[in-house]
């Protein structure tokens, strides 16, 4: 079946099978940041935005994205680089495989809540698994990023 979607701001028209998953579709379109980590809808590595909401692309039929906007890390380079630097500063990750999904969901959190508490950060990101770290580095990176953003905003006012 033919479906039309807006992938990272660009109109895409593709032929998909009835059971093609959104994860495989976006990867076939060159969005290699989107990873398959678990096959059990649990790890968060395949996180993309569907109509601006973070979802597990491994659990969405490509057919269900017909007529919708899909955003992957490839479409959020500037935002991702700005925030990602703070994670890198902490040396938070080792292998980096979980990073794109983690950054996507962190960006979704920042869009929903401007200054989340530590508890709110942990709750929002609890569906993003990392098997190298203990999440402490990521948490420090997020808190530093939020502090930096707040400072920048205050300086601008």
């Amino acid at each position: 079946m033919q479906i039309n979607l807006i992938l990272n701001g660009t109109k895409v028209s593709v032929d998909v099978a009835a059971d093609t998953l959104l994860l495989d579709l976006v990867r076939s379109q060159g969005c290699a940041s989107v990873k398959r980590g678990c096959e059990t809808s649990n790890c968060g590595l395949c996180t993309v935005f569907l109509e601006d909401k973070p979802v597990l692309s491994c659990s969405v039929l490509a057919a269900r994205a017909d007529g919708k906007r899909v955003t992957t890390l490839e479409g959020l380079q500037e935002e991702a680089a700005e925030f990602g630097a703070f994670i890198a500063d902490q040396g938070a990750e080792q292998c980096g495989f979980c990073n794109p999904g983690f950054i996507m969901n962190a960006l979704a959190l920042f869009r929903e809540k401007e200054s989340p508490t530590e508890e709110e950060i942990k709750e929002y990101l609890s569906g993003n698994l990392c098997r190298c770290s203990g999440y402490e580095g990521q948490l420090r990176g997020i808190l530093n990023f939020l502090a930096w953003k707040k400072q920048k905003q205050e300086a601008a006012e």
Partner: protein
Amino acid sequence: MTIREYKKAESLEEAWQLNQKKPNRVLGGMIWLKMEKINVGTAIDLSGLGLDTIEETDEGFSIGAMVTLRQLELHPGLAAYTDGAVRESVRHIVGVQLRNLATVGGSIYSRFGFSDVLTMFLALNASVELYKGGIVPLAEYAQRPYDRDILVRVIVPKEDAKFCYQSVRNSQTDIPVLTCAAAKNAAGEYRFAIGARPGKAVLYTLPADAGETPELTSARFAASIRSRIKTESNMRGSAEYRNHLAGVLVKRAVKQLG
């Protein structure tokens, strides 16, 4: 799972007709369906039928089958009515990304043993609206075998009651070891729904005795439920441990509901 054809239903009648054929399946959030080893003929998608809203009136809430668990979590009306119990019942389920997909209809239709959603809605005295079968109390629907009707909505009546929700989990986002949703109405009657036994949630209604102290009430309820509840062992906990937890959660619920 494989799917031969995908069909976005244009009406409930069309969805129902398609669903009468054995290889066809209705899609919810597709979380669990995806992990089944099945070959689906036609995947029936209800997402074009406007079933993705929560409507609140003076009488209650009407929750469309395609409403996501995340919508339940963020709905101010449900939070106010249940004192945050609905939010508490879903916030531990895997992650935001999964809760943006998983649907109320999928959870309730599936009637999974570990279902936080089923536990919560049982205590809320909810009913389900079936396309052919009409409105059925959830407590009855939970006991029914799976059929080929279409679950359209979940209906929650507003009553003068207080609610709370608790679950025990080995880790924050895992499937629960035991769930407990409780309600206390203006007449002093208590309802306890206990799930993840690991069998599906069951509902107990117990009258309070006005002459009793809260401590005695909670001890009596805990003993009553522990003697009646059927628990089993699995990798997350033993039958004995679950029975013990049931008593603890019931006591805590009574304390919280006053």
